[in-house]
């Protein structure tokens, strides 16, 4: 059988063996928890607690500030210690609520829904919205917005992004192995809102056990289909996944809904299940601590807001000095200065590497070899786009489709001249977007 995939892409060392067979354990935070008011795309949430307030686990501490926004919930019980700027894993300083954990984990009480099939679409959306669910694959786009397309009848594909194409990460994998029923039930809740859609689980073929497990669980379901995908980065890129599963293509100006698709990653669908079925807001997540510098790489079920430092310690700390620490995967994750940051809704891993490959090699002249062109899943010419970026040639950059870049980093990864191609393209994209906003 030929596996479904997209054109381009790269095959980086996947490193998943370090942590993939470690069953997840629950980690209870010891220190303070930090909740940035902006951990999603859209307007930052508005704090509704004050310093000194006592809060319970699952209590809303910040409310959505507009439609494209998302509320935030306390993941522990305790006292609001401060509301002040803190550094997030993505490097920004963001106004954050700091909660001192009392270690009691007293919750507000959650109300399970007996029969979710009796809920109306509006009720489901409301529950998702009021539980603070956002795209947990990394982008953090509020899920209730994604699930409210203009014409729900036109949605034909609900795609569960089970690719987990980023090297090293195993949090989605563990979810699929440990809670496949929740994933399937979550998918059914989404399907309930889209009568013309079927649910697809797109899984890379390096996770045969997940393919098998989900196929087993869905074998009697007409509307649920498991799609094995070729193991290739960035298979889990939204546009690439849609292409692989449906054969349809979308560009930067389109939404997946324009191609009749809605894509949600594993963790998001689990969060939807928790929100709608169990009535639990988003306060927990699956988190991988891994890398060749980590003593005991493993997977944790964490409270959102837990400090990276604690999580690293929980994994036995470092066995050799880390030259690079990354929040997320090595291809699209964010480099950290130190572990003095706290997990947010979208955090999925802390990766500690003994080698800083991005700085190790010296940049040399482009030899026009075209490896970046072969690697680009968006069919771009990255080497030229990087030149245009360096020379500030905005017009040509756009003519050569620079704005279509999905920032996957495949070009930089494979460049034999070690040019920071993706960085250059990202920079120009940012400038162009900023200029457009000014207009």
């Amino acid at each position: 059988m030929s596996l479904k995939t997209f054109k381009g892409g790269v095959h980086p060392y996947d490193g998943k063996d370090l942590s993939k067979d470690k069953p997840s354990t629950e980690y209870k935070p010891k220190g303070d928890l930090v909740f940035p008011l902006s951990q999603h795309i859209g307007a930052p949430a508005k704090a509704i607690v004050a310093v000194g307030d006592n809060v319970l686990l699952g209590q809303k501490i910040a409310e959505a500030n507009g439609f494209v926004s998302s509320p935030i919930f306390a993941s522990v019980s305790g006292t609001v210690k401060a509301i002040e700027p803190h550094r997030t894993p993505t490097g920004d300083m963001v106004e954050s609520i700091v909660i001192e954990n009392d270690g009691k984990y007293l919750d507000v009480g959650f109300h399970e829904t007996e029969d979710v099939t009796k809920l109306s679409n509006e009720e489901i959306i409301e529950k998702i919205k009021e539980s603070g669910v956002v795209g947990l694959g990394g982008a953090g786009f509020p899920t209730h917005v994604k699930l409210s397309p203009k014409d729900p009848a036109q949605i034909e594909y609900i795609i569960a992004n089970c690719a987990e194409c980023e090297p090293y990460l195993t949090s989605d994998y563990r979810r699929m192995v440990e809670n496949p029923e929740m994933l399937v039930e979550g998918m059914k809740i989404i399907l309930q809102m889209f009568p013309n859609a079927k649910g697809y689980f797109g899984i890379e073929d390096n996770k045969p056990d997940c393919i098998e497990k989900l196929s087993e669980l869905t074998k009697d379901e007409d509307r649920l289909i498991v799609v094995p995908l070729m193991t290739k980065y960035p298979q889990g890129g939204e546009r690439q996944l849609i292409k692989a599963v449906t054969g349809r293509e979308i560009n930067s100006k389109m939404l997946p809904a324009d191609a009749g698709c809605i894509v949600d990653n594993v963790e998001t669908i689990i969060a939807i299940y928790n929100a709608v079925k169990l009535g639990r807001p988003l306060t927990t997540g699956m988190f991988t601590v891994t890398g060749d510098a980590v003593k005991e790489p493993q997977n944790f079920r964490i409270c959102i807001g837990t400090s990276y430092e604690e999580l690293l310690e929980a994994a036995g700390g470092l066995k050799s000095p880390a030259k690079k620490m990354i929040s997320g995967g090595p291809m699209m994750g964010f480099a950290l200065m130190d572990t003095n940051v706290n997990s947010t809704k979208t955090s999925s891993s802390l990766l500690c590497l003994t080698e800083d490959e991005a700085s190790k090699y010296e940049e040399t002249a482009c030899i026009n070899c075209g490896r970046c062109v072969e690697a680009c899943p968006e069919n771009l010419i990255p080497s030229r786009l990087a030149d245009y970026s360096a020379h500030g040639q905005t017009e040509v950059f756009e003519e050569w489709y620079g704005m279509e870049c999905i920032e996957c980093g495949s070009c930089s990864y494979g460049c034999p001249a070690r040019r920071p191609l993706a960085q250059a393209i990202k920079t120009m994209k940012k400038d162009i977007l900023a200029a457009r906003r000014k207009k």
């Binding site: 560009n251 200065m337 991005a358």
Partner: protein
């Protein structure tokens, strides 16, 4: 706080292959035909190769030293240029002309235009053509087994019979590295297996030239003649090792195909309608000049972007 880690933009990992390794692969792929050239033409061929390579590397080193630039000889690209240039010499070429060729290739064609990656013309071929024009007699004198005679391609042009089997093996007169089709093909397979080149350029080049030969070669469907044209002269060496030179060929996938077609047609025109039997070198350096234009025409449409014609019609 004193030992903060280095923060860089993603991606944070890199593929192992670098420029030096790619150049090394090309050198390895050239070894079969180089070894055969030395076996075929004797130790003078080896001396010529070593002198040319040394000249190229030394030229680059001196140029960068004089201009206080960082030395780039470690990337091995000068070695590749020197080797390719020497493989394009008759083994009888005077050493001083080889040295002159090496200096011309590196200093004039490569370094003056900005060094590796910036030259618009293949340095080895630029220098070969320079020598062909300047020293026509020594560059065109081919001795084989102690007898000075015509190359198979020249014989072919004059309507004389040629032995295609010895052309395949390479037991004929010619430049050091062009005679053995089999050895060149072994090298080509190495390049393809090591992911250095793909068949887009050499494939379309050879195919186009074959079609051109059948149509305009004047021998109709004579397979023996076709094989001789394909194996003769610099076609195989040129198609796999020089037309595929990254720097001087289009980076766009469709551009590579157009480039291959242009090469095939030009080689055909030069060989069948020109005064000389050979045309590969000129076809390649001429096509090199067209590369920016070809690239401009062949910017691929990005993933998911639909042709804009319809939209324009709809909106006004």
């Amino acid at each position: 706080m004193s030992n903060l880690l280095n923060v860089t933009s993603a991606p944070h990992v890199r593929e192992k292959t670098d420029t030096q390794r790619i150049m090394l692969y090309v050198i390895i792929a050239l070894l079969p035909t180089t070894a055969f050239g030395v076996y075929n033409f004797g130790l003078r061929a080896l001396a010529l190769i070593l002198i040319t390579v040394a000249t190229c590397v030394a030229s680059e080193w001196c140029y960068e030293k004089l201009l206080h630039k960082k030395s780039t000889i470690k990337d091995l690209s000068a070695v590749v240029t020197g080797l390719l240039l020497a493989l394009n010499f008759p083994h009888t070429l005077p050493f001083w002309q080889a040295v002159l060729g090496g200096v011309f290739a590196i200093i004039v064609v490569k370094m003056l235009f900005g060094g590796l990656g910036q030259n618009f013309m293949n340095p080895a071929l630029g220098a070969r053509c320079f020598l062909l024009i300047s020293f026509a007699s020594t560059m065109n004198s081919f001795t084989y087994d102690g007898v000075t005679g015509a190359t198979p391609l020249t014989l072919l042009k004059q309507g004389e019979p040629v032995n295609t089997l010895s052309m395949l093996i390479g037991r004929t007169g010619g430049t050091i590295g062009e005679t053995s089709t089999i050895c060149i093909l072994i090298g080509a397979v190495i390049l393809i297996m090591l992911n250095v080149i793909d068949l887009r350029i050499p494939g379309t080049y050879i195919l186009t030239f074959a079609v051109f030969t059948l149509l305009f070669g004047g021998h109709g469907l004579d397979l023996n003649y076709l094989t001789a044209e394909l194996c003769g002269g610099g076609l195989m060496l040129g198609a796999f090792f020089m037309a595929t030179d990254y720097v001087t060929s289009p980076i766009t996938p469709n551009g590579k195909i157009i480039y291959g077609i242009i090469l095939g047609v030009l080689t055909g025109i030069f060989r069948f309608f020109g005064p000389a039997a050979e045309g590969v070198s000129y076809a390649i350096i001429f096509s090199n000049i067209l590369v920016p234009l070809i690239e401009k025409w062949t910017v691929p449409r990005a993933f998911g972007v639909v042709k804009q014609k319809k939209e324009k019609k709809e909106g006004k």
